[in-house]
């Protein structure tokens, strides 16, 4: 991985909390439909998660795309691992894979 200074910050974020969502806006005030979908899925599953608003942090907005080699926001991380963007999270939620992943990783609903 290149020595992009923001990578250290990102590594801290994704390892500090079990579930980390990089999104546009906040879960209460999402500013993009795709980010809103992932926020709603997590709230529906009632799992605790930390979110970071890339609209307030341009360095993070670009750095996260390079870090995960994924061109769009939102991005969801579980236990430090990149899980996917809106399409993948929605697909996994609809077929129960996301819930199974949380259980497998020992993450309980609040």
């Amino acid at each position: 991985m290149s020595d992009n200074p923001v990578f250290d910050r990102i590594k801290d974020y994704v390892n500090k909390d079990d579930i980390v969502l990089f999104m546009k806006g906040t879960p209460i005030f999402p500013q993009c439909g795709f980010s809103s979908v992932v926020g709603q899925v997590l709230q529906h599953m009632a799992v605790p998660f930390e979110s970071y608003n890339v609209l307030e942090d341009p360095e993070l907005r670009d750095g996260i795309k390079e870090f995960s080699d994924w061109p769009t926001i939102p991005q969801l991380y579980v236990k430090g691992e990149f899980v996917g963007g809106c399409d993948i999270i929605r697909e996994m939620f609809e077929n129960g894979e996301l819930q199974q992943m949380m259980t497998d990783k020992g993450i309980k609903a609040a």
Binding site: F34, W70, P71, T72, F82, V83, C86, D87, I88, E91
Partner: protein
């Protein structure tokens, strides 16, 4: 970005892939695509999507704002 361009880029990088594409809003910016490709076998969903994004050579997230993507391997 035109639907045909998206299909062309994907087919160039993923030879033999079957690409079905739908223009969600008619604004050249919001598409849904389903890509069926032999080479996806054994790859995670994230990796499959990354292969498609790579074929679009950096247009994803910039020139092309939204591509609702579904990937699968042939039956």
């Amino acid at each position: 970005m035109l639907a045909e361009d998206i299909v062309k880029f994907i087919e160039e990088d993923l030879p033999g892939a079957k690409v079905t594409i739908e223009d969600l809003r008619g604004d050249g910016d919001h598409y849904a695509a389903h890509v069926v490709y032999e080479g996806f076998k054994g790859k995670s969903r994230v990796q499959q999507h990354q292969m498609v994004y790579k074929s679009l050579k950096g247009r994803m997230g910039g020139e092309l704002h939204a591509l609702a993507l579904q990937t699968s391997t042939p039956e």
